[in-house]
């Protein structure tokens, strides 16, 4: 064994030892132990299942029993909500412990050899795939930062938002009479409340939101012109001009749009034949936003427009 091999071997030994030891002590609590444990809340909920509640509900059908029915419903809903909340808290705690444990393993691994790092990466992928298969997908190499430090908090936010929305139906229902909000309706809302804590659904929401942000960012990039300050008397003329443009935004109307936007008129587009009707109409809209800010300028602009359907009203 050469000197360098010896150093490498020693480093490997300590790296492997660290990997073996740290996962066991990597978990630490970020909050006090809950007074209401999952097991106690589940036990309480099991004492009053839906079948029992519904059986009692059915025995109280007369008008004078309406308050009894409400009490049955409220008792059932509250016990179920507490159990669902307890399980959700445990779920979040588990996610956080996985994150801390994984980070510690990786941090140690980065100090060691490639072999240790590879092992840690596989372990990370396994932990992640156990928690959220959709997130891991088919990617072999997974960056733990991407998931636990950036994506996971956003996913938890999404789940919390979904739970808040679902909880609103329940808490709103508890304020109603038993006739207005029946036990069956409450049970459906409870299912929605429980299903709101779903990483896959949260990921879909997050992906959708990200797509909208990209769309918004692209739109901002198109803000390449500045619009003038319109006077109130141009609001309706602008609307009439939009109705006129809308009526031309097809193949039949393209020659007219090309004439308006082309070099012989406004000169907004040098090669109108190469543009779509929508592109030509948008060039004219941009001009209107930037230049047509009072009724006189609107009249001047449309003076040469042919308007057989009188869409331009008294502008002509």
């Amino acid at each position: 064994m050469t000197g360098s091999e010896c150093i490498r071997g020693t480093t490997l030994f300590f790296s492997v030892m660290a990997l073996l030891v740290l996962p066991g002590c990597a978990s630490f609590n970020a909050r006090p132990d809950p007074l209401r444990t999952v097991s106690s809340e589940l036990a309480a909920a099991k004492t009053y299942p839906f079948e029992t509640a519904m059986a009692e509900w059915r025995t109280r059908g007369s008008a004078k029993d309406v308050n009894d029915r409400r009490e049955i419903r409220d008792t059932y809903v509250i016990l179920q909500m507490r159990a669902i909340d307890a399980r959700y808290r445990a779920f979040l705690t588990g996610l956080a412990q996985q994150a801390r444990g994984t980070n510690l393993v990786l941090d140690v691994a980065t100090l060691g050899l490639t072999g240790g790092a590879s092992f840690a990466a596989e372990k990370t992928a396994h932990i992640l795939s156990a928690g959220a298969t959709a997130v891991v997908g088919g990617r072999a190499a997974f960056n733990k930062d991407l998931f636990y430090e950036r994506t996971l908090p956003a996913l938890i936010d999404e789940m919390n938002a979904a739970r808040t929305a679902a909880r609103a139906s329940l808490t709103g229902g508890l304020g109603k009479t038993a006739d207005q909000y029946t036990l069956a309706m409450a049970d459906i809302d409870l299912s929605r409340y429980q299903d709101a804590a779903d990483l896959d659904t949260a990921l879909q929401q997050l992906t959708s939101a990200a797509a909208k942000h990209v769309e918004a960012a692209n739109a901002l990039y198109t803000a390449e012109f500045k619009a003038c300050l319109p006077k109130p008397d141009v609001y309706r003329p602008r609307a009439e001009m939009m109705a006129y443009l809308d009526s031309l935004t097809d193949d039949a109307g393209k020659p007219t749009l090309a004439t308006i936007a082309g070099p012989g008129s406004l000169g907004l587009v040098l090669d109108p034949q190469d543009k779509t009707p929508q592109e030509l109409a948008d060039a004219i809209r941009t001009y209107i936003s930037a230049k047509i800010c009072d009724v006189d300028s609107a009249r001047q602009m449309v003076a040469t427009w042919d308007d057989p359907n009188t869409l331009l009203g008294d502008l002509k």
């Binding site: 769309e215 300050l229 319109p230």
Partner: protein, 96 residues
């Protein structure tokens, strides 16, 4: 949904000017959905899937810098940081 962003001609406009700018361009591009700035002026994003049609010469938008909505507000269209009288200010845009 298609959207379009339009920049305001002047960063020195006040709330009423911004309201007129927004309403005047909603008629052209669609309902305002986001408001912000590009570092030099106010930028508004318009949702082209819904284009309001004015029935009168009134400005049916109010831009408010404070926390309160106008008494005649029908809906909050968007909120963000826009240039108001030359300074970046948190504003809310209401349909009135």
């Amino acid at each position: 949904m298609t959207i379009k962003a339009v920049g305001a001609d002047s960063p020195g406009w006040g709330p009423d000017d911004l309201a007129a700018f927004i309403w005047g361009n909603e008629i052209v591009w669609g309902q305002a959905s986001q408001i912000g700035n590009d570092g030099t002026t106010t930028v508004v994003i318009f949702d082209r899937s819904h284009v309001p049609v004015p029935q009168d010469d009134e400005t049916h938008v109010a831009v408010v810098a404070g926390p309160d909505a106008p008494a005649d507000a029908k809906a909050l269209l968007c909120s963000g940081k826009a240039f108001v009288n030359g300074a970046v200010t948190a504003v809310k845009v209401f349909r009135i």
